[in-house]
């Protein structure tokens, strides 16, 4: 990146005859930049961005820097107490919330279709939430400038059930799913507060919620296609036809993807693996509903079927139900 910094600082080495001031200005600029650590900062940001390959690189950078800024700011505040046990400045509850926020940030970094990146992020988030009780030093001892977590020994034997459920709730709501729609899903996935959630269950829950959010957004888009907002809610027949197509797509999506690195000896993990893989298939399948099929369904619906309208909410709930009935209950 050094050549980039040179470009930004403006001028190349002074040709003869040019005033001295230009050379010293670019030198002092470069000195200033290295003093405040801009090179490292940007290098880290770009690397993270390339790894994530987000659809919205600018948004990604904005989130990345905001996150880094808040970590640095709270970290500085926390560390100012020196070597004492950190329970002073931040209560355990607030600390947990902070961990939750950071875990959620990690989970947002990569889309669930990017298997290895997503798995890594789930692991990092899990480790973050896995810390139970007070620790030797405030957790915000500076992360590297690129925002990665320093290796810490995992504290507890699992994520607290309540925290796990909260994570799932946040994932769903951030993904644009209203609470009422995600409630039945969370019923199936949630764990009791006193339970310690192991990594594979955590991963399964997070993945299911991520896929579910995508699925619901897709369903919303489908509804928007069959319905013109000016003309009021879409006809019931039409909606049922579209839901039928969606159901068909879900049912034909079979197959187990063996790419996950979950311990294959654990039968529970196997079922989780299967469900997760299916979840991924659901979204790919729903994306495959072609406009032609949709048009066919719509044309068919117009000649028969019940009367009345179906509004967006009902459609969304019905679509959600199709998905949720396939999700195994966590026991």
């Amino acid at each position: 990146m050094a050549d980039k910094e040179k470009r930004r600082s403006g001028t190349t080495p002074t040709p003869p005859g040019m005033p001295e001031s230009k050379a010293t200005k670019s030198d002092s600029d470069r000195e200033f930049l290295s003093q405040v650590g801009v090179g490292e900062l940007l290098r880290g940001a770009i690397l993270k961005m390339i790894e994530a390959r987000s659809d919205d690189p600018i948004g990604f950078l904005a989130d990345h820097f905001c996150h880094l800024a808040s970590v640095t700011e709270t970290g500085t505040a926390g560390c100012s107490d020196g070597d004492q046990l950190n329970n002073g400045p931040l209560s355990a509850g607030a600390q947990e919330q902070q961990h939750l926020n950071r875990a959620l940030w990690h989970l947002r970094l990569a889309h669930h279709s990017q298997r290895s990146a997503f798995s890594n992020n789930v692991r990092v988030a899990y480790d973050l939430l896995n810390l139970t009780g007070p620790r030797r030093r405030q957790g915000e001892v500076p992360e590297g400038p690129d925002g990665s977590c320093i290796d810490t020994p995992t504290g507890g034997g699992g994520v607290r059930g309540g925290l796990y459920t909260q994570t799932l709730q946040c994932l769903c709501s951030e993904g644009g799913v209203p609470a009422s729609t995600s409630a039945p899903l969370l019923q199936r996935l949630h764990c009791q507060d006193h339970e310690a959630v192991p990594h594979d269950v955590f991963r399964h829950g997070v993945l299911t919620c991520a896929v579910f959010s995508d699925y619901i957004r897709q369903a919303q888009r489908l509804y928007a296609e069959v319905c013109c907002p000016d003309e009021g809610p879409a006809s019931r027949a039409l909606c049922l036809a579209v839901l039928g197509t969606l159901k068909e797509a879900l049912e034909t999506s079979q197959g187990c993807d063996a790419n996950c690195s979950v311990n294959a000896n654990n039968p529970k993990a196997n079922s989780c693996l299967e469900a997760s893989a299916k979840g991924i298939r659901y979204l790919e399948a729903s994306a495959k509903i072609s406009p032609y099929k949709l048009a066919q369904a719509i044309a068919g619906a117009q000649t028969r079927g019940p009367g009345g309208d179906m509004d967006a909410k009902e459609f969304e709930n019905a679509a959600a139900e199709l998905f949720i009935t396939r999700v195994k209950v966590v026991s």
Binding site: R8, F32, L33, L42, R53, P57, I58, F65
Partner: protein, 280 residues
């Protein structure tokens, strides 16, 4: 990545599934390096002010404002026109700031619109405003008053697709002067330098305005241009539709129908709606 991939065939979700996009292309598409470079330049120019809360906070603010389309406010013209996102953001801010004029139905002159633009961008050039006015007024009586929405639609088209429209104008000039479509040289985006001479032909153009050219011929040439044009251009379907209606089409009548086409508005609008995460 923004406007040129907005054709119905390709969706933005493709990039998630296609990790084979090389790094250079991925970086180039989003103009990220441009923004990083500008951020650092700005930082160097305003050291004391911007390091008050720390450098990380500065970058966070910079990129947040880019994301929210606020970054172009009061910046220089060269910055505003530098990326498609910047152009769309500027149009949006324009609309947001001056919405009231549209609502009240006031009619303003070209110079007044230019003043409004200069409030948001101090060095906004007159030529751009003139070009937009010509579309609304069909190149006639530039002093006439225009409604805000007419002006905005024309301005948005002209400003966003400036390079493409300049190329189309050159093609139109060639066709008008009698060249056969096969010999019309399809200009690339680097041949913009020739334009100042075109502007000098104002008088000639007014006389020729009545004639126009064959819409199908123009459509053919525009299609060829789209095939080669590297930067953004309006959706082909819109342009084809705009050319279907008449027997003879003039450059400004073509632009006028294009400006009114709903899809153009949506195309430019969709980008900043998507940015805010509203489901399309």
């Amino acid at each position: 990545m923004f406007i040129s991939t907005l054709s119905p065939e390709s969706t933005s979700t493709m990039s998630r599934f296609n990790c084979a996009v090389p790094v250079d292309e991925y970086l180039a598409d989003s103009n990220v390096l441009f923004y990083l470079s500008d951020a650092v330049t700005q930082l160097l120019e305003h050291k004391e002010e911007y390091t008050q809360f720390g450098v990380i906070r500065y970058f966070a603010e910079y990129f947040s404002s880019v994301k929210n389309s606020n970054h172009i406010l009061f910046r220089e013209y060269n910055y505003i026109r530098a990326t498609p996102h910047n152009r769309a953001s500027f149009i949006r801010v324009l609309w947001r700031c001056y919405r009231q004029i549209g609502k009240s139905g006031d009619l303003l002159s070209m110079l007044e619109y230019r003043s409004l633009l200069q409030l948001l961008c101090p060095d906004f050039p007159a030529e751009m405003v003139q070009s937009a006015a010509r579309i609304v007024l069909m190149d006639d009586a530039i002093d006439c008053l225009m409604s805000f929405s007419d002006f905005l639609y024309a301005f948005q088209l002209q400003f966003y697709y400036q390079e493409f429209l300049d190329s189309v104008l050159m093609i139109y000039q060639d066709l008008l002067s009698g060249k056969s479509p096969n010999t019309v040289i399809v200009p690339t985006s680097t041949s913009i330098e020739q334009l100042p001479s075109v502007a000098a032909e104002d008088n000639d153009r007014e006389e020729q305005q009545q004639d126009g050219v064959e819409p199908s011929t123009l459509a053919q040439c525009i299609d060829a241009l789209c095939d080669r044009f590297k930067r953004s251009h309006p959706p082909r379907s819109c342009m084809r539709e705009a050319l279907e209606q008449t027997d003879k089409v003039s450059y400004y009548s073509f632009l006028m129908s294009l400006a009114k086409h709903e899809a153009i508005n949506q195309t430019i609008e969709v980008m900043y709606i998507q940015r805010e995460g509203v489901a399309a």
